[in-house]
């Protein structure tokens, strides 16, 4: 269970370079006193008959890039203050279904250490950013309590209408938690996923876990 604390965050990750290779010569401009062929023939959207396998491989490559470089595709998002929720992450672009959103980045620790840290955070009155999961028969936790430039920890919860889900991504023999789009996400939509809290006392203490 994670509750949001309100801290100033600045996102200064690396730039997303995957979409910047647009051609410079398109459009209705002229080149060396010559008309362009595109002035006469309409551009049709090319149906790229790329196999599903090739698409998936492209996604894996992209995820590996962000996970390995410990950064987020920050051009695709902005972080805003949302009334009653604290920080939230809004999509700046369209994200197709199944595509990578960002990583839930933090310290990868075992459950035992996580529980100790949780007690400590509780005493310090810090918000909880622990994400528990199982991998290879061991209970792990990604602790994102420490403020960082990463946006994954700022994503809010929704049980009723999430648009992302978490997925395990193994890189260099270490598990990483990443978010992928459950459906096509439109620009200006808030990124939401189900925190997956089933503990009754936690839900009683934070009814929004069930009602949002």
């Amino acid at each position: 269970m994670k509750t949001k604390s309100r801290k100033k965050e600045n996102c200064n990750g690396r730039n997303n370079t995957t979409n910047s290779s647009l051609c410079n010569n398109c459009g209705n401009g002229v080149k060396n006193g010559n008309h362009l062929i595109t002035e006469y023939f309409p551009t049709l959207s090319r149906t790229r008959r790329v196999t599903a396998k090739a698409l998936a491989a492209e996604q894996e490559k992209l995820i590996t890039y962000y996970v390995a470089n410990q950064c987020d595709p920050i051009d695709s998002f902005y972080v805003v203050d949302i009334k009653g929720k604290g920080k939230g992450v809004i999509s700046a672009t369209q994200i197709p279904k199944g595509h990578f959103v960002c990583e839930y980045a933090g310290d990868l620790i075992k459950k035992s250490e996580a529980q100790e840290r949780e007690k400590m955070y509780e005493l310090e009155g810090k918000g909880c950013y622990m994400y528990y999961f199982t991998w290879g028969g061991i209970h792990w936790c990604v602790d994102a309590t420490e403020p960082s430039s990463r946006i994954g920890r700022l994503i809010n919860h929704s049980r009723k209408s999430p648009n992302c889900k978490t997925r395990l991504f193994i890189h260099c023999n270490k598990p990483h938690l990443i978010f992928t789009a459950l459906r096509d996400i439109q620009p200006k939509e808030e990124i939401l996923y189900d925190y997956g809290e089933n503990d009754k006392t936690a839900i009683e203490a934070h009814p929004w876990l069930n009602t949002t």
């Binding site: 060396n32 006193g33 062929i37 595109t38 006469y40 023939f41 551009t43 090319r46 790229r48 790329v50």
Partner: protein, 265 residues
Amino acid sequence: MFEAKLIQGAILKKILDAIKDLVNEASWDCSSQGMSLQAMDTSHVSLVAVQMKADGFDKYRCDRSVTLGMNLSSLSKILKCAGNDDTITLKAPDDGDKITLVFEAKNESETSEYEVKLMNLDSEYLGIPDTPYSVNVKMPSHKFQRICRDLQQIGDAVTISCAKDSIRFAAKGDLGSGTVNLCQTASADKPEDSVSISMQEPIIQSFALKYLNHFAKATPLSPQVSLSLSPDVPLVVEYSITDDDGSDFGYIRYYLAPKIDENDD
């Protein structure tokens, strides 16, 4: 699985020679109909479209349509390893990231196999309207090649004008000017040497010679070239591809946007 076998492998070599300097990377669209390619040069002034019909191949199998994106100069380099009399077979599995080329020498037990990496290319696809043209000219391809080469010595652009039964290519530059006039000729004995002109309305339009000289690299593919022009639309330069038996295999069509008329605003 995609597999295409061509006994006259030299045709494929010639096709690549005709497009590799104009377009660096392009995607072959392979379907049960055949292989085709459409690509613009980097400056987006010209467009090349290649079509090779399935039944022109000696063996053709394409279970599912595939797009084979590749670097054309890499493909051309590999095709240079094939002899002119070699049989060439192209193979690509449905989900592979490579295309395999197999060269078999004629009457020899030698086969060689090469692989070219495929890539995902985000290319634009242009819709080419199927319109009638005001002027259609058929002429010997080597003559067209020579005219383009000669006139590039004079200037950067050629003005093509057509009136009655003659076509005129003119260039102007710092050193002077040059014109070449071709009249309609009918040669019953050697149809490949004939010049035929059909004209609905007279035309005058200028084009950059640099591109026409690129197009002329397709000359070895066909003894005749066809030029189609209409006012204010791209010029079409077409070479039909035929095999040794003379049966139709496909075409290479080049489209070239006209020069901007200096009198225009």
